[in-house]
């Protein structure tokens, strides 16, 4: 249901608009100014540059994989936090929240210390000839690390909102846990799961700090859109702006997709 002003109290609404205009303008003006620098023709020309195309391709590939991983690895955690009562729940909760609150650069350093050549696990992996740091795999790992909380938190809220008695009902009707999850939990939590997926994807698209630290900035291998923007800013403003606009569009697409699917799949009366 949409929030609405109480009946007969709409005449004062303009004051609220005035009060809200500060933040709304502050958000809109910079984003619009991105669009004022380039004419559409020049924008398209810039996008055909190798830097932009490579960065776009790499970003779409890595974020596709990392978003999928966020969902697959995040689902059980979200369900666990929504349904299970266990000791150390607070710890798990904090652990899942941390990537949102720590600076992404710090996350990058942490990943490097764990999976880098001389890292905790990296040393062992190195013995087997596996190197992760400064590869496309590192890009995906950095994105998963930073973006997964967005999926887990949203999915968890979705699971928690489903009446537990519905699962119980499914059990008494002969469904085991697995079946009850797929036929009752998942469809009822689907709007949240889709919204969480879109949020995680949007966050992975914009991932910069951890990627820079852990994966570096190698065009074609680890240079995603945000990294390409930063590199381009040093030499070529037009390219930087062109790629920025591209990143902005992707983010808008992610948010619209999340809204649309969440609305289409929501069940009335839930």
């Amino acid at each position: 249901m949409r929030p609405h002003a109480p009946e007969g109290r709409r005449e004062g609404l303009w004051k609220l608009w005035v009060a809200s205009s500060g933040l709304l303008l502050f958000l809109a003006v910079p984003l619009l100014s991105l669009l004022t620098v380039l004419r559409p023709g020049a924008w398209l020309a810039q996008l055909r540059s190798e830097t932009a195309m490579q960065a776009l391709a790499l970003t779409l590939q890595t974020t596709a994989v990392s978003t999928l991983l966020c969902v697959l690895l995040g689902l059980p955690v979200a369900y666990l936090l929504a349904r299970a009562e266990f000791r150390g729940r607070e710890i798990v909760d904090t652990l899942v929240d941390l990537p949102i609150t720590i600076p992404p650069v710090v996350a990058g350093v942490a990943l490097l210390l764990a999976f880098g050549r001389n890292g905790l696990l990296g040393r062992t992996l190195d013995l087997w000839g596996v190197q992760i740091a400064f590869t496309s795999v590192a890009v995906v790992m950095a994105q998963v690390f930073i973006a997964c909380p967005f999926f887990v938190k949203t999915a968890r809220a979705g699971f928690a909102a489903v009446d537990p008695r519905l699962e119980s009902a499914a059990h008494t009707l002969g469904a085991n846990r697995w079946r009850a999850f797929w036929t009752v939990m998942l469809p009822l939590a689907r709007p949240s799961l889709v919204a969480g997926t879109a949020l995680a994807w949007a966050r992975a698209l914009s991932e910069f700090g951890a990627t820079m630290m852990f994966a570096g900035n190698v065009p074609g291998r680890t240079q995603t859109l945000p990294l390409a923007v930063m590199t381009a800013m040093e030499t070529d403003l037009e390219t930087a702006v062109a790629v920025s606009i591209l990143a902005l569009l992707l983010a808008v697409v992610a948010l619209i997709a999340a809204r649309t699917f969440a609305r289409r799949w929501s069940v009335p009366g839930v």
Binding site: D163, R165, L166, S168, A169, A170, H171, T172, L173, G174, A175, N176, R179, T183, V184, P187, L188, V267, P268, G269, V270
Partner: protein
């Protein structure tokens, strides 16, 4: 029809325990436009439900045992928080007991001493949840099909089973609707149909009518009662509504604070209530009294108030019960032979269809029922002082 391993494919169960009770035509009540076909496949548990379990939850302890025979409806009544719904959760396997032996016919569902604890999906116990817990993302038909599908029936079997229940409960016109779009009474039927379509061997109903408005409730109650008679499953119905208990209870079990305080056939309970809950149900004045020793007319002390009763062979703690219609009221104390005369204040007056119920405070609560004419003659008003008279012979005394 599917059976467990080792079970003989016996045809109809023996008379008396079968799904169609003798002498009770299915046409007595109508469940929408149902067809009075024999239920046959999918329904027809042959075993009694045996329950004996204990569970501690914080300061609250449930410890109760009872049995529901095939075709019998046992009503669990009691105030809220007494543990009634807990019993159902334990039977369905949704909660783990501290100690329990729960069996359905020959099948042990849970035995803590034997290490048996079947998961809910293997118990074959149909539970109709309070407010139904229907799947909101599914249609009426899909809700009913959920059980048979979960039990991996073939598509054809599922379709036939669902069709049968949809027709029986008169849900055909709504079969394709999401359950959020149908009325409360219809949801009730869907909940029952869904539970029964999964071929349970016992049926549990948790406050089945509490979500309905008063007019619908009366109609649905009659339908469901006729229906339960017909399916012949051992049934446990939980309610806090006295009327449900009266309509459904072949046997009534009173649960208070986790313990069974009284149980038995409905008539016996109403004759000799031992809890305020049942006394209210029966519409009787009930007191816990201390009877003096002696012969003939004896003193029965209820707190500060002393009754005089005829209690052959009873002394010590006992119950006193009498109907409010046995109480007469007067504005002055009449000299007479009545043994129990109390002065009391009018606390409340409740109009009944043809009479008036007057609640008095005589040192203990006492309710009287008088005719409207008598009430008019007394010029009754709250706070007024009256004299209440009860004959000793009208007071029922029992332990």
């Amino acid at each position: 029809m599917f059976r467990r391993k080792g079970e003989s494919p016996s045809p109809r169960p023996s008379p008396g325990s079968g799904p169609l009770p003798e002498g009770e035509g299915p046409n007595v009540h109508h469940f929408g436009q149902w067809s009075p076909l024999p239920l046959g496949e999918g329904v027809g548990g042959e075993g009694n439900l045996h329950f004996d379990a204990a569970l501690a939850l914080g300061a609250f302890t449930l410890d109760a045992a009872f049995e529901a025979r095939a075709g019998e409806t046992v009503v669990l009544v009691g105030p809220s928080g007494a543990g009634k719904s807990l019993c159902l959760s334990l039977i369905a396997g949704l909660l783990r007991p501290d100690r329990a032996r729960i069996a359905l016919g020959e099948r042990v569902l849970c035995d803590t001493s034997g290490g048996v604890d079947l998961p809910p999906e293997s118990r074959r116990v149909g539970l109709v949840f309070q407010e139904y817990a229907l799947f909101p993302h599914l249609t009426v038909r899909e809700n009913i099909a959920y059980g048979p599908r979960a039990r991996r029936r073939s598509r054809k079997e599922v379709d036939e089973n669902v069709k049968k229940w949809v027709e029986r409960f008169g849900l055909k016109a709504w079969a394709g609707e999401r359950v959020g779009r149908i009325s409360g009474g219809q949801r009730q039927r869907v909940a029952l149909a869904r539970a029964l379509a999964s071929s349970p061997e016992a049926l549990l109903l948790d406050e089945p009518f509490s979500a309905l408005d008063v007019t619908t409730r009366a109609a649905v109650r009659g339908e469901v009662r006729a229906f339960l008679k017909e399916v012949g499953l051992p049934t446990v119905l939980v309610t806090h509504d006295p009327l449900d208990a009266l309509v459904f209870g072949d046997r009534i079990i009173v649960l208070e604070d986790g313990r069974i305080t009284q149980s038995g056939p409905k008539e016996e309970l109403l004759m000799r209530p031992r809890s305020p809950f049942i006394a209210e149900l029966a519409g009787l004045n009930l007191y816990r009294a201390e009877i003096a020793a002696g012969e003939g007319l004896k003193e029965a002390r209820v707190g500060e108030v002393v009754f005089h009763v005829l209690a052959e062979g009873v002394s010590g703690p006992a119950y006193l019960a009498f109907a409010p219609s046995e109480v007469t009221l007067a504005s002055e104390r009449h000299p007479g032979s009545a043994q129990n005369v109390f002065e009391g204040r009018v606390k409340e007056m409740l109009p009944l269809p043809d009479r008036l119920r007057v609640l008095l405070d005589v040192g203990a609560g006492l309710s009287a029922e008088i005719t409207r004419e008598a009430a008019a003659a007394l010029h009754l008003a709250p706070g007024q002082t009256l004299w209440a008279t009860v004959k000793a012979t009208a007071i029922h005394v029992y332990r």
